[in-house]
Subunit: 139 residues, 2 copies
DNA sequence: TCCTACATTGGACTAAGTCCAAGTCAAGCA
DNA sequence: TGCTTGACTTGGACTTAGTCCAATGTAGGA
């Protein structure tokens, strides 16, 4: 059973077959699906689910802070259910594979006041880019 | 005169009125325009320039490493001519303002081997998010 | 000046996402 | 259990960002 689903239920979310399916599709580690991918997988379990509902549901999950939106490539946004453990992303520039990673240190501490331009900073996002092992071997 | 334009000329780029205008529009610090914004500004100087040319030209500048593509918001990509000084971005979540910033420290060093999953990492991108001073006062 | 390879154009096309009016249904209440 | 109702879902039209291509134009070398 999905942790994500449990948490959503606990927030008084009205439970529908559509939302359940979206939550189930998004369960797991290193999951970074686009909205269309979520829809494609949801359709296999609930053929009549619409794209609009998938977008609505993903948007609500993001608003509730249960899912994170990731824009690693300037194409479609990806949805990451690993919202309760702070982490960053490691992206393969060739195949697009994405891994969640946890760097040590506090990147925010590296930004001196003189470089903050008076902003109140609330969040730091780090994307490591490179080549994954399987792309490296099939050069 | 634009530094960017000088560098492009030095690479044997065939110089056309369109390319000159795009390069001029992209000159300066803290410049992060979308392709459409570049086009809108280019049109005021060269009314017949087409969107396709703006996209082509921006794409070439990125390939040549003279301009950086920035995807801070999952909407339109932005183009940053500050390609020769390594820097990161500070983004206002309310008005979308973007500043170039130079953090101290090496974020790559913060990622232990055990968190690299065998990737060869070539690049690290950091986005600081918060509220800019003028949005903070007009709460 | 002429040639030609490279650049530009505009319009059609695709991908990603939003919006909306009409229909459906979960869940609390009697 | 059966209503009722407000929240949810639907599909299709629409918007935005970007790509593609065949026809046309032109920078720069000979």
């Amino acid at each position: 059973m999905s942790d994500l689903l449990e948490r959503l239920r606990g927030r008084g979310w009205r439970m529908t077959a559509q939302r359940r399916v979206v939550a189930e599709v998004l369960d797991g580690d290193h999951v970074h699906l686009t909205a269309d991918e979520v829809h494609a997988r949801a359709v296999t379990r609930l053929p009549e689910i619409s794209r609009a509902t998938v977008y609505n549901t993903l948007g609500e999950m993001v608003t509730l802070g249960e899912v994170i939106e990731v824009a690693t490539d300037g194409r479609a946004k990806r949805y990451d259910p690993n919202a309760h453990r702070p982490h960053q992303h490691l992206v393969c520039g060739r195949c697009g594979a994405i891994r969640d990673v946890q760097p040590g240190g506090d990147p925010l501490a590296d930004l001196p006041d003189s470089e903050r331009f008076g902003f109140t900073i609330s969040e730091v996002e780090v994307t490591y880019r490179g080549i994954c092992p399987s792309c490296a071997t099939t050069a």
